[in-house]
Symmetry: C2
Subunit: 388 residues, 2 copies
């Protein structure tokens, strides 16, 4: 837990859940009926549950979701697709739902068939005890973790509605949603079509701006279900609250990148377009040389500009300015193309848990922020021994 919230999705009227984690195999059930939408991975190699859900979500309605961790059910062909369907049926049976209104998501090792007997048994263990308590929310968020080191929850409340979410992240987090599963719920009454557009917008500016290692998973998906009990709300208010909720979760994912010792936040200002700013911010965040420098508390700002320079966006390096800092400290390391020469403040900032990098391109008026983490020996150790 990063900020003390342990009741987020269960803070939403109409949501019940439960979860179990046994060694590397976890199972979670979340029940909540309403209009729903999902955003999926852009990887052309898509896991079986993704293939299943892309079609099913056309209906724009969910009654419940089943999620397993430990096996991704990816690159498993027709058998995998059948297994994903059966997973949904198992959940439907235990929760007395329509099987066509069950969300299915998986995370874990790719290229292995899922063991349905484990799913069946774990489902039987937890389904009778679905609740909206702190305890069941906690079990649910824990069940979907893989190499995550802490649970990820967010709750955003407005006068007339709330949005709560849990997610898992950690490795394979990348420009277009790495192995990231997100489950968002709101009591606002939102038409299915508006849910989809709000979710796409929020994901593009939050989860899609987190880069842990540049890898993009076969399994990523974020669901949003609107139970509707709070009634109609203002569309803009809702979109803003949703982005806020997703951003809180996105930062938790960045903070918990595999092996990370520090979170990195990069803001690129005064770009010609928001897309230019985003691409540069994500290229900096994704640079192994920048990531290792920050791990080593080395204010090697030249690597930041070098990463920006290879992002495929044209700008004039002779007018660029760059600051490094943390909290209220913001130390200039390069002003209008000239190094400032004093790196002592920047070096001090890099000892903090959150390192902030700001770049001013002097090319226009648009900006974007991306989040990531440093690259440590821990990442190598975690990922060199994952299958076994």
């Amino acid at each position: 837990m990063s900020d003390g919230i342990v009741r987020s999705i269960c803070g939403i009227d109409g949501v019940q859940c439960n979860g179990i984690k046994e060694g590397k195999y976890g199972l979670a059930l979340i029940q909540a009926e309403g209009n729903a939408a999902a955003v999926f991975t852009k990887n052309v190699a898509q896991a079986a549950p993704i293939i299943l859900m892309k079609e099913r979500m056309e209906r724009g309605f969910l009654e419940a979701t089943i999620i397993n961790s430990g096996c991704a059910n990816a690159l498993t062909g027709k058998r995998g697709e059948r297994d994903a369907g059966i997973m949904g049926e198992i959940a439907a049976e235990h929760l007395s739902c329509n099987p066509d209104a069950i969300g299915v998501a998986s995370t874990g090792v790719i290229g292995r068939y899922i063991d349905l007997s484990i799913i069946q048994r774990q489902c039987s263990d937890i389904a009778p005890y679905m609740d909206s308590s702190q305890k069941t929310e906690d079990a649910t968020a824990a069940a979907i973790m893989t190499t995550d080191t802490f649970q990820k929850h967010a709750l955003v409340t407005r006068e007339d509605f709330s949005i709560g979410g849990i997610c898992k992240g950690s490795g394979m987090i990348a420009p277009n949603m790495g192995t990231m599963l997100g489950f968002l719920y709101t009591d606002a009454d939102i038409p299915a079509h508006d849910i989809k557009s709000s979710l796409k917008n929020a994901v593009s500016k939050s989860f899609n701006r987190v880069v842990v290692d540049g890898d993009t998973s076969t399994n990523d998906v974020t669901f949003l279900t609107a139970t509707g009990s709070a009634g109609k709300v203002d569309g803009n208010d809702f979109s803003q609250a949703l982005l806020e909720c997703c951003t809180i979760l996105a930062k938790q994912i960045a903070q918990d990148g595999e092996g990370a010792s520090r979170m990195i936040e990069v803001t690129v200002k005064n770009a010609k377009t928001e897309s230019d700013a985003e691409i540069i911010a994500k290229t900096i965040i994704g640079s192994p040389l920048v990531k290792t420098a920050i791990y080593g508390q080395d204010p090697n700002w030249g690597r930041i500009i070098a990463a920006a320079g290879r992002a495929g966006v044209s700008f004039d390096p002779d007018t660029i300015s760059c600051w490094m800092g943390s909290g209220s400290l913001k130390a200039p390391v390069c002003l209008e193309g000239e190094m400032t020469g004093d790196l002592s403040s920047a070096k001090r900032a890099m000892g903090e848990k959150i390192v902030v990098i700001e770049l001013d391109l002097h090319e226009g008026s648009r900006e974007a922020t991306a989040w990531g983490c440093d690259l440590t020996e821990g990442y190598v150790i975690i990922n060199g021994r994952y299958t076994t």
Copy 2:
């Protein structure tokens, strides 16, 4: 040294050189007169010597080259450009050349001014002892190294001409020539324009297919000078020999990636276009998840397909085949979209120094090969402590 060649550029008639390395500061001089061309980094943040040489190489002629290691002279503004010019003048004076026919290259830390007094003094130390001996070639190849762990030489001989080269690589090696300096010489008599087109072609299929960490340097450049004493040669023969020479060097760079314990060679076959094959091969080679899996001798082929799937090239994952091996061993891990289930041979192959991955897309008839290395704790340690 990877393969016992220690006389490569000095195997070319008309080439003399010398070098010195004192702690992190190295200097090399290579004298060879003839038509010449260069290929430069595509990073928009370009080091001072790159800016200088892009203009100077328009003449298509070099008499000598000066290279320093320890300071990249990058992001150093107008002062850096002046310093790069002075570096060339220092070399010209010591070697009695035309200052406008001096190649200048730098590698090392970005964002620091170059100490010209060191350049001047080292130049005075080595210029009187220029030679085409094994000893001076050795000193030259050693002088340009940064985090390289061995010197990189290649010599390709044909009946009527030869091509020799040295290079440095190691970190920041990426899709478009990372911090990679290459110095190639031939005794063939080639017109300046043909040198340029042959060099561009060879670099695009060799150095540009090496990925160590996805970072692309501000300083990359490869020079080719033709001394001409062997007379006219067949253009196709020459282009083939040049590609061969560059490929030998490219593989040495991959093998010596920062912290690498294994070289990885990825071949993508039966793609629609060579460019599709290249993009997928480089995305696989650049994936931290693939690199760490290979370091851990973990035949996690799912990560290979997942990396291919996010390369931005469309293909059908249900018809893809994948092999992992080494030397004469080539073990299928996935055939036409179905996992083979037996990973024991693949796992054994991953214990070797060179790990080969082959992917068959079943989409067309084009192929490409890319080279890289695994990702180890060593990379993190090297790059977390570089500036200090």
